[in-house]
Structure formats: C-alpha cells, structure tokens
Symmetry: C2
C-alpha cells in the first residue's frame, strides 16, 4: 500500500510535468474517468486535487454518502447532477436490480459502486509503490475467504466485496514493473494462478460444486473447463483410452488392440468426431438404436457390446446422452451404468445440454444414475444461461494428469502455482 502523497497521487509533482515518460497520464485518466462517470469520481477527484485522502478498500459507501450531502465535484466548477443514493446492499440481491420493478436507483447506485472499485484498481495499478502482485499461496487464499457456493443468492454487498477481493489479488498490469516483467503474459487475466489467483480458485470451487451436484461425495474428482462440448467429449474419450491402455501415450494406437465406443444414434456428432481426431476412427463408434422417444435401448447396447467383443474388439467407452440435440431425450443412465459396470467400460455422460436439470428439484430425476458415470460433459452456457461459451468436463477420479497427458502428475485438488500453470497451458 502506498503512503499518502506518494506514487500515483503525486505523479505530477514528484516526476515533474516535463518528464516525457510521465505526461501526467494517470492523472489524466483519472480526470477523464471522473467526468465520464459523473459524480462518482468525487472521491478520486478530491484526492487528486490535494486533500491527501486515499481510496479505501471497503469504505466506499461512507465516502459516497458524504458526497451526496455536498455534491462537491467541482472539477469543472459546475454542480454535478449525479447523486448517490444511500442504499443498504446487505439486504438486496441481483433480483432487485433492473429489470426489476423500481430497480432504477438501486441499479444506478450499484453500477456506480462497481465503477468506483474499478477506478480504485486503475489508480492502484498506476501506483509505482503498489506490488505487481500481492501473492498468496492457494491454500492461504482458500482459508482466508469463504469460497462456498451457497444455495442462497449473494447479497449485493457480498458481490461488491467479491469484486474488491478479486482485484486485490489480481496482477496490476498498469504497474511499470509489470510491463517490463510480463510483457508477454500480462494481458491474460485467467491464464495461470500467478496472474489470476482468484479466478483460478473460483474455477476450482465451481468445478467442485458441479461435481457435488452430479452426486460425487464432497464434490471429489477432477475437471477442466474446455472450449466447448465437442472438446469435452473428446477429452472424455482420451481419458477413457488412457485409463485402459496408458501405453497409448508413448506408443500410439498401433500398440494397442482395436477399440470400440458406443453411443446412441441420436447422440451428438462430436462423439464420432472425437474418434476421428484421436486416431480411433469413426467406424469404431457403434451407434445404438433408440426407442420412439430418442432414448437408447439398453438391451441393444448390451447386444452390440457382446458382438464387438466376439469380433475381438475392445469396448472402452459408452457415451450416454442426457438431453439429445433434437428430441431432448435422456438416456436411461441407471441401466447403462449397470452394463458399463458388468463389462468394465468407461461410462461418459454427455449432459452438455441436460446437465442444467441437476439444478432443478423437479426435473433432476431425469439424470438419475449420472453419479455412476466416470465422466460428465456439462455446458453451463446452455440451460444455465451463462452468457459466454462455457463447457466443463468433470471426472470422478482425482487426477488431472490424464486430462493433460503430457503434464506431470498433479491434481486440481492440490493446486500449486507451478502445477496450475502447467495444467492451464494445455490449450
């Protein structure tokens, strides 16, 4: 933390306005931001013009409250029309924001506070006395805060606190030292633990929560976010093959018996696609017949498994579908799990679309048996409405080395900076 009067706040006087390298940029940015956001920059403005007050980590509301009493944004020698309402966020939730009825003032006020937090981060980033990163090991951070994804929604107060925490531990890329040290990687906010500790840990707790909802005790297991459902399904196939024949990694498909995978005739095309990419071949994906509602017929699955074994092929994967693309059908997972257990085959559930039903008390029975799967694809950007493409592959066993094939043995449940770093380089 900078001492008052040092760093960014005194750029002009300390560095001299004639310094070509420091053309008052931070100050100018701050002024522009202050104007752009109306009255909410009051505090920053006051600081900039010399009362020496520092931005506070948690005291934003008090400051803004006083700004309301005296609309003191006098940068332009004009009164500022932007007022800040005195709102207690401790009892409000995102559902109280627009488009909620009468949500105007709350929304405006909340957005102003978010902007305030962002401005504080920008100011800190410019401050040469701020550390490039306030580094803590994963376990320290996990212990210091409550990372639980609760069943109840967070209050707006908690959301603002989370914003502050995230930025507190984020790398300060505006820092001159960061520019020099990290010219190549400073821009990727979620690439490694060192760059984005909070986001990496959020990923960890989110994946754990998803596994918990699948029904794996305590959310045990492993997982990874991938670019899309097709890649998640391919990863599942990769892990299933590796688990059965680890030597495939060094020796390739030439060294192992001919594999066959099974999926329904209504399944997603990515199962065949994955087999093509992995050198297994689309001919080795056997499509099982469905009933009139688009659900796989378990007896047909078992028949085809026996048939394949008789031909000398090795069944290594059954990819069931929870929510088919056209019918939205859910394969009978319990019956499939029994068959997979009987023949010792990796059971994957492509719940890219249907996984969202695990959040519904009323409908989650449709996925009964998913807890017996070895791996599950679940795309939060589908039924859960996450705004950007977001797919997760969740694995019941604890180890991510199979997910990454060439990485050293490391598990997402034992995050260390170097491990996470390597894991996330997989893409």
């Amino acid at each position: 933390m900078a001492t008052p009067g040092s760093g960014f706040w005194s750029f002009g006087s300390e560095e001299g306005s004639g310094d070509a390298e420091n053309p008052g940029t931070a100050k100018a940015w701050c002024q522009a931001a202050q104007k752009f956001t109306g009255g909410i920059g009051t505090k920053l403005c006051a600081l900039l013009y010399g009362d020496g007050e520092k931005p506070m980590e948690t005291g934003a509301k008090e400051d803004l409250g006083s700004a309301e009493k005296t609309p003191a944004c006098t940068c332009n020698n004009k009164p500022c029309s932007c007022q800040k309402a005195d709102i207690n966020y401790a009892f409000l939730h995102s559902t109280d924001l627009l488009p909620a009825c009468n949500g105007e003032i709350t929304t405006l006020s909340f957005l102003q506070d978010v902007m305030d937090i962002l401005l504080q981060y920008v100011v800190k980033s410019f401050d040469r006395s701020t550390k490039v990163i306030d580094f803590h090991y994963p376990n320290e951070l996990l212990q210091e805060y409550n990372w639980e994804l609760a069943d109840q929604p967070q209050t707006l107060e908690e959301i603002l606190l989370n914003c502050r925490t995230t930025l507190k531990y984020a790398i300060k890329t505006g820092n001159r030292h960061a520019e020099i040290l990290l010219s190549g990687i400073a821009y990727y906010p979620v690439f490694t633990y060192e760059i984005a500790p909070v986001f990496v840990l959020l990923e960890y707790v989110t994946l754990r929560k998803m596994r918990e909802m699948i029904g794996w005790p305590g959310g045990c297991g492993d997982g990874i976010f991938s670019p899309g459902g097709a890649i998640s399904n391919m990863y599942a196939m990769l892990i299933a093959r590796f688990k059965m024949f680890p030597e495939v990694k060094e020796k390739g498909m030439a060294a192992i018996p001919r594999l066959v995978a099974f999926t329904s005739e209504h399944s997603h095309f990515s199962v065949k696609k994955g087999a093509a990419a992995l050198g297994i071949g689309t001919d080795s994906v056997i499509l099982i017949r469905c009933d009139e509602r688009g659900k796989i017929i378990p007896s047909d699955l078992e028949r085809r498994i026996i048939e394949a074994k008789q031909k000398g092929f090795v069944p290594f994967l059954v990819s069931a579908t929870a929510g088919t693309t056209v019918y939205g059908a859910f394969d009978p997972l319990l019956a499939i799990a029994d068959i997979c257990k009987k023949y010792k085959i990796w059971m994957h559930v492509d719940a890219a679309w249907g996984g969202g039903l695990l959040m519904s008390r009323k409908h989650k029975w449709k996925l009964n048996g998913v807890e017996r799967a070895n791996s599950v694809t679940w795309n939060p950007h589908k039924m859960m409405g996450v705004p950007l493409q977001c797919s997760a592959l969740l694995v019941r066993e604890e180890s991510c080395s199979e997910l990454h094939l060439l990485e050293e043995k490391c598990s997402a449940t034992q995050i260390t900076p170097s491990c996470t770093n390597r894991c996330r380089r997989s893409q």
Copy 2:
C-alpha cells in the same frame, strides 16, 4: 426500423403500465443508463419524454452538438455538467486518446460516443418492431463495406462507424421474439454467421490478411482461430495425417502405417502432446538436434528422416519453430522447406511467438521460407499484444474440411451461413 411513437418508445402507453410482463423495464434501463453516463443520454432522454425523435444511425455527433448548446438533460430537473466537446474524429487516431498527452477531452468525448452507440443498440433491442436480425448473405455484406485491413491506422471516425455497422447487423437479443426463438444460443455473440455476421466476416478477412503476410499469394488458403497454440499445432498434425492417409478418419490409426513426425529438441512441448492425443504416440515424434543458438540442424533432420524411412516408418510432418520458447530461436525455414519438398513431408511452422515479426520490415527476414510451409501457427496474443488469448492456424490449401474432419466439404472462402455454422461447431 420502427415508426416514431411505436415499439419501445411507447411501451408504457401502448402496453399499459399494469402489464406485469412489461414493467417499464426498457424505459427504466434507459433512465438508469442516462443518469449513469451523465449528459450523453440527453438525446435518449428527450426521446423518452416525448419529442418523438428517433435515434439516428449516423447523426450522433450533430445531436450531441445541439445538446451542448442547450444542456437540456432535465430528467432530474437539474443542470447537467457533462458537456460534449465538438471534436472532428476524421483526423484523429487511437494514438490521440489517453495515454497520449492532452488526450483527456478527446478520450472522454470518444468514450461518450461509443456509449451512445451502445445505448442506441440497447434501445433498438427492446423495440418490438425491430427485426431480430437484419440478415444479409456474406457476399452482400462483403460488397457493401470496405473490409480491407489497411496499412494505415483507422481514424476514430471510422472506428465509430465500424461499431455502428457491427451492431446494425448483430442479433438483437433483447427482442422478445429473439428470446423465444433463440433461448439456447442467443448469448453467443460470435458462434455462427447468423448470430454475428460482422464478427465472422472480420475473422475471415483477418485470417486472409495473416495468410497474405505469410506470403501466400492474395492471402489464399484457409484457417481457423483456436483456443491456443497447442491446439493449433495439434490441428496441423491432424491435417497433415489426413492429407496423407484420408482413410484414417474412418478406420483409425490401425489401418495406416506407423507415422513419424520431426521437430527440434527446443520445440514446444505441444508437438509431443498432440501426437499423444491423436493416437500417434510421443515415441513417434523424433527430436532433431539444434546448434548452439537453438536452431534445428538441417543435416540432422535429413539424416533422421532417411533413418526412419529405412525402418519402415512414414515421415508425415516436420514442425519447425519460429521463435522457440527459451532461446527465441528461428529454425532455418528455407533449408527445412527444401527437405520437406524432397521427401514429400507436410511442413508446419510453429510461429506462435515469432509470427509477430512478419509485421516488422526490419525483422521479418527471420521467417524467410515460411511462405513454403503447408501450415503455420501464429498467436496474435503474443508479440502482437492482443489482450485475450488468440491463436490462429493458417493453412496454404483452400479447404476447411480437413480442419473439421467430420464436416461436409466447405471452405472459409465460400462462407455460407450453414457452412460457417457447421464449421464453428467444431469446438
């Protein structure tokens, strides 16, 4: 386009304020946005309060000019302190914005105009009489605008125009019809041509420009953006294998001879990783010795190719590196190209890091010979400073069916909505 007085602007009166489904939300959003952004919402505010003027596609500056003369933001019955400077963007560039010296007013004004454009889009999205999408076929859009990536930087005026054009053709997800029709996919702004025509075409022209810089005449060829350099390198390996043995797609590795790939001992780990994933096996990646500066020794490469052939293996890929991870070394591409030609081997260049030098008149000679490659990995998020992870695989041959393996024959140079749709589902 809505007629004055219809759609969003008359939500309250037309639909009735008691309508539970339309709780004045659009109006409320607009008010909040207006307050939040200070005076720049003046025009919207005036419209909302009844003068019937519609937002104009290109007339924003004139409107704001008049707002300056009469600071008429009377929503709160208070004068608005936010003024809009009269700036001619036709002669300004991004370098005139902060952190440029004296860039405060220009930056503020430019940001206000961007916000104005976004607000117009929000308003339009709420307007029930706006089409969900103003659909044009790719060739129509390509002909209607200048898509050239010029050597000279764009003016701020052009950038604003581009923002307007992008949103003009973007899907309006706020539209009630869009909500119903596209519940599953409306959130992905760049997933298919139908959803994001401008972004898809931008991708097309950007990849073409990158191929042009590689030296392929007229930017011919094909390409795809991928999640990262490792995946791009894996795609290259996939294509090389498919080109030599197309039957691998259906029959798998079991049906083709034992393949071998070559790369330097200083190359990125993703070459081995890709071989593991694709069922080729890491043992089939032969590491070639480097000189003391980390460059591959061509004579050693040729020796190992001959050796592998004598053992009955089939060399199918050489992955040269332009910018190694540790030394930043550039393999001698011309010599490697000669060897690849002699032995009919797919030449890939992993220029994930070094590709940026193609933009430099002074340094691009380091990649001499890259134009003879069959495929190139180039990550704009590295030396080119693109803020988010961004990797491209560029292929000299015109066809993307190999990139997608299971898709129908279609080429990015002949974009059609359905083709693009399928292609982009690959992840």
